[in-house]
């Protein structure tokens, strides 16, 4: 019997009051973004905002609850942006979106900061069960960053994987870890790099005692990259069914997938709210085309900060309700 687990890839929009309060406290320039040593006032505002998004998820009835990543001004490049030996330079485009992050330039040996672990510690105080951690996948983080220290691509990816594994090693107990790997689709690794990307994911996944999902989005994974990704020791691979369901189904039919799967069923970049029934139909459709799963993680395809707050909340409810529908029918 398939268990449907409702969740999200995190990176939520700030509540509107927090947008105002934090822009007053922090300012609007690139030098004003999160550095990891923010003032007590800023920390307090984020604490209140975190509490609010934890409550929103609990009230919606999601099976997994994320910290919200509200401090991640640089989106999934955040863990590097707050690390030592990293310069944050100009504002650069975040994939093909009308969004920007500070280019992190690695200038020395990377060391974990415990920044993400501290966020999870703060969240854990208010979450009884189902806490889910979110990190960039090593391939995507290396892709978003610039290396001025390690010298070659393989060594840099290795260093990023070790850095993320050390960050993950400091986490409190979590149920699930989502590793966000959009670059596997958006800037697919070539020969050799595809195998290394899979090994790097392995390295981070092995650092935690939790179910690990390697989540991809903005399209389907190239066939060869997918074949290598299947070698990674993760519990599920995540697919963006909004952007491309046909190639994804082909990949799974051709190469199989893990016993569990994460499906991006709700569009994180469009305000049109899917109904729980539509979400449920998409899960059934995917299982019909492929196989039965131990667990289907029903999730938004992308991060959710692209949405206004009201639609973001409606989408969380739709995901939670879709998982409930399944339980009733079972």
């Amino acid at each position: 019997m398939t268990q449907v687990v409702s969740t999200t890839p995190g990176l939520f929009p700030l509540p509107d009051w927090a947008k105002d309060e934090l822009s007053d406290l922090k300012g609007h320039q690139k030098t004003d973004l999160i550095s990891g040593d923010e003032s007590a006032e800023i920390t307090d505002a984020y604490d209140r905002a975190r509490r609010e998004v934890l409550d929103v998820q609990t009230d919606a009835g999601l099976d997994r609850v994320v910290e919200g990543q509200l401090r991640w001004d640089d989106m999934i490049a955040h863990p590097l942006a707050v690390a030592d030996s990293v310069d944050t330079r100009g504002i650069v485009r975040y994939y093909d979106n009308n969004n920007f992050y500070r280019e992190p330039v690695v200038t020395g040996d990377l060391e974990a900061t415990g920044d993400v672990a501290a966020e999870l510690d703060a969240a854990a105080e208010h979450v009884d069960s189902g806490l889910q951690a979110v990190l960039p996948g090593p391939y995507s983080l290396a892709d978003l960053a610039t290396d001025e220290h390690y010298g070659d691509e393989a060594a840099f990816l290795d260093a990023i994987a070790a850095f993320l594994a050390d960050e993950a090693g400091q986490f409190p107990d979590v149920e699930t870890l989502f590793l966000l790997e959009p670059s596997l689709v958006e800037n697919a690794p070539g020969d050799g790099a595809d195998e290394r990307a899979s090994e790097a994911i392995d390295q981070v996944a092995n650092a935690v005692d939790a179910d690990v999902v390697a989540h991809t989005y903005w399209g389907a994974i190239e066939e060869k990259v997918y074949a290598h990704l299947m070698d990674a020791d993760v519990d599920a691979i995540g697919f963006d069914l909004i952007a491309d369901h046909e190639q994804t189904v082909y990949n799974v039919q051709e190469y199989g997938t893990k016993d569990s799967v994460a499906l991006g069923l709700v569009d994180g970049q469009n305000t049109l709210v899917e109904t729980p029934e539509t979400i449920r139909e998409r899960i059934d459709w995917f299982a019909d085309q492929t196989t039965d799963y131990d667990t289907v993680y029903a999730t938004a395809n992308t991060e959710l900060f692209y949405l206004p707050v009201n639609k973001f909340e409606a989408k969380l409810s739709a995901l939670a309700d879709a998982a409930e529908l399944e339980e009733v029918q079972a």
Partner: protein
């Protein structure tokens, strides 16, 4: 010379050569104007729509005159009546709804609208703005208008099959507005398509949009296209086929690193080149701007060069914005004198491209 350009040359222009000087559009709002908006939005304040309209008129008059004082050949009202380049239009088009702010970067947000129904023309967008500005201006007025591709791409599309279909419907509305502007006397219209820079592979969609926009626009109306902050090699030379007279491009910000892109194929339209960087809050010297203008002359001959800032200047302190315009105009006039005197060797134009 391409397009109807001569009509913008002032009768008392001092030199034989004429480098058309203008701006992209937006300008810092006076502090009192921001205060007036706050009062208008405050339900408890004794400040109604009549007062707010008067404040907008006053600001538009003030900034139009500030543009004229700087010596610009073609002026704008600094977009004093507009809040933001997508929101302003989406508020006036049937089919859009607003749900709240979304992040662009850091703590910079905008109220990204959703298209929840087929878009339809409702109230006018810019005709009264143009009529007012031209009534207070002694110089010709340019009208910047956000293009359909950007209006589609910077919104959530809930109903159209794809963004392309939405962009084409919006292009028909832009065409309707431009016809009304032309009827009201507008002769210089600039379509702003910054979204093209983010998705350069869609240049054919923008081209089709422009065909719809330019449809039945009289020949004496100058159409320009503004694109900024992107990789031009991905859209050039394809954009030369667009039915516009002029391309207005940001280049100072990147220190003209992309200039060579435009030399590889003959630039067959008018070239409105950014000669001051709008993301640096220091006024470039006249000498520095003159060097930048000369870079434009490597691409097109003087009769096809327009001199303009990289982009809208609304994020700059007002005195810096003014300083950049004034120095830009002075630099253009000095280059014209040097051209008249034969002191500048021309390297672009038909002679350069003959090989």
């Amino acid at each position: 010379m391409t397009g109807p350009r001569e009509q913008f040359k002032p009768a008392d222009h001092p030199n034989d050569h004429f480098l058309l000087t203008t701006v992209v559009g937006s300008y810092p709002k006076p502090k009192w104007h921001d205060r007036a908006r706050e009062l208008f939005e405050d339900e408890d304040a004794d400040f109604g729509s009549d007062e707010w309209e008067e404040a907008k008129d006053d600001a538009a008059r003030l900034i139009t005159e500030e543009h004229e004082r700087s010596g610009l050949d073609v002026v704008v009202d600094g977009e004093m009546r507009r809040n933001e380049m997508v929101e302003y239009f989406a508020e006036r088009i049937d089919g859009y709804e607003f749900n709240g702010r979304v992040k662009v970067w850091g703590h910079n947000y905008y109220d990204k609208p959703s298209v929840t129904d087929e878009v339809e023309y409702d109230e006018e967008w810019l005709v009264s703005e143009y009529e007012f500005t031209s009534s207070v201006a002694s110089r010709p007025v340019k009208v910047p208008i956000t293009g359909p591709y950007t209006l589609a791409n910077w919104a959530f599309n809930e109903v159209y099959e794809d963004e392309e279909a939405l962009a084409y419907d919006l292009a028909d509305l832009v065409n309707e507005e431009i016809e009304a502007l032309v009827e009201a006397g507008a002769r210089y219209i600039q379509i702003d398509e910054p979204a093209l820079a983010t998705t350069p592979d869609d240049h054919a969609i923008v081209g089709e949009c422009l065909e719809r926009i330019a449809d039945e626009v009289p020949d004496d109306v100058r159409l320009g296209l503004h694109v900024c902050y992107g990789d031009y090699s991905r859209i050039y030379p394809e954009i030369l086929d667009y039915p516009v007279h002029e391309f207005d491009l940001e280049l100072a910000n990147g220190d003209y690193e992309q200039l060579d892109v435009f030399k590889e194929h003959e630039f067959t339209k008018d070239f409105a080149m950014g000669v001051t960087d709008v993301h640096v809050a220091e006024v470039e010297s006249v000498e520095e701007i003159k060097e930048n203008i000369k870079k434009g002359l490597e691409v097109v001959p003087p009769e096809r060069l327009t001199v303009s800032p990289d982009c809208g200047v609304k994020l700059l302190p007002r005195e810096v914005a003014y300083g950049k315009m004034a120095n830009m105009v002075q630099a253009a006039r000095e280059i014209e004198e040097e051209l008249d005197a034969g002191e500048i060797d021309l390297v672009a134009g038909p002679e350069a491209s003959a090989d």
